[in-house]
Symmetry: C2
Subunit: 342 residues, 2 copies
Amino acid sequence: MANAKKLINLINRIFVSRGLSPKHAMISAKALINAELVGAHSHGLSRLKMYCDRIDKKVINPKPKIKIKNISKSISKIDADNSIGFVAADIAIKKAIDNAKKTGIGLVGVKKSGHYGLSGYYAEQATNKNLVTMIFTNAPPAVAPHGALKSLFGTNPICFGTPTGSKIPFILDTSISMINRGKIRVAARNNKKIPEGVALDKNGKPTTDARKALQGVQLPIAGFRGSGLAWMVDILSGVLTGGNHAGKVKDPFDDFTGPQNIGHLFFTFKPNLFVNDYNKRIKNNIKTIKALPKIKGIKEIMYPGQNKFKRLKINSRKKINIPSNIKKDITKLVSKNTILKY
Amino acid sequence: MANAKKLINLINRIFVSRGLSPKHAMISAKALINAELVGAHSHGLSRLKMYCDRIDKKVINPKPKIKIKNISKSISKIDADNSIGFVAADIAIKKAIDNAKKTGIGLVGVKKSGHYGLSGYYAEQATNKNLVTMIFTNAPPAVAPHGALKSLFGTNPICFGTPTGSKIPFILDTSISMINRGKIRVAARNNKKIPEGVALDKNGKPTTDARKALQGVQLPIAGFRGSGLAWMVDILSGVLTGGNHAGKVKDPFDDFTGPQNIGHLFFTFKPNLFVNDYNKRIKNNIKTIKALPKIKGIKEIMYPGQNKFKRLKINSRKKINIPSNIKKDITKLVSKNTILKY
């Protein structure tokens, strides 16, 4: 069990010891611990060792020269120089926010980035600045295109965020895979089974064994529809930006033969472009939907992001539980760390 | 059986007899027949009587004063004055294309519109002009939000289109409902069953009876994920634009108490904003995915829009089959039509 602030500082120092600037290390540490606090453990501390390994093996650049080029006042492109994904995404969403604040609309394409954690974490930066946002990123092969026997698409999340006129933003951050790859990884690590109907083994047979699923194929949501959405995300984040695509994004845990070169796309705009009472309208929208008759056993109809926000509130007051295998990782990472010895 | 060109002219004259300008009538007739030619019969001639009824009952305005206001060189808003949806959408996508051609990016919000047929039909206008596009529209209640016992979201399609460097654009046009409401309507009309697991009856029980499904609830794809995507589309097309939302869009077939006030959002941008070899990149993307090993029985991995394009090619050479009930509709609509008597 550990205090969130202390953990952030510890991870910050681990990243600094790996050569990241204090600023980049802090951005990364905060993003990782946020994932823990919202309950997305698959995107939290369980990835710390992977990020450090990739820096050690020189496939994440700890001292990136990130290039930002403005195509217009609304549109910018970023070459992240193989930075850790958190830093590339943080710079990109801030640029997209600036552009939208100036012109009403912002579009930022990023190439040569890596896994950046949760899309919703960046969406929240935009909603906090009273902007609507859509965010796309691709990921290593996990889901088979409809009709194919081999995985190629990543879990390619679709992320949409909007302010709601209340403290809790509407943030949809949904993988187009039946199950998040990170969740399968956590299940494999903890010897737990995965649900039926979400994955096939390497021979194309349904499986509930997490380890077999990692070697096999995850199924897209809704067959050809989900496959089409995954393809869309691959085009928007990879083909369009100059990032890797069509299955070329390397698995960050298993493949150290080169940088991931993930692409991201950040789209932002003001909510009051077409109406002058957006806050009132979205409040009414949510209120109307929440007032619908509910299925037996459902206490409240929740909008996307609401549960995550509640978990963040609750968990921020508690200590973070660190599984023993991750504790070992952290101990090793710290002991390797000469700066921390002093 | 009828020739497509002749049918377009016939429908054009029917719409003109209802008070539409020749230009608006032709836009509408072409969109309706395109739906037939791509095999989307639920969005074709089966809706002709509905459109005419709505004009007759003054809930579609045949002589709209459509107002276009430029918010910036990239962003425009349109008040469609309760025009037939085809016309509002046609003006909007052309505006979004113009804006993107000028500034790299276009965003057009439309309110006071109606059902416009297939989103993909408008996406194709953008891809034909070498632009990438995303299009959102809401629709009358059909799908229950996750946890709710009552339908509220429309089938709210997500549409994405991009040029491919070949003749056939990539056009994903996918409802977030397990089944298209129009398809249930066609099944009900033809006394056919619908698949299992796509709809509930009015008591919340699974049904394969198309008529019972129309009184009940359609299920979203992928549970809470699909429900979240439907909610996103309702916000983007309804809350944002000034259109109806949160279940207020009227069913065009059943509810003549007022205009639908559907909202649409058209987003367009140039494919070469971030890279200078987009066509080459997307060709490679598609080629790589098509070359994957295939599931037994699958001849070719198709990208979204490819099948529809093939059907259009084939059907354009053939005559259109008109079911007898629709033939009766057309005969009545023509006989009511004083202009056609001369």
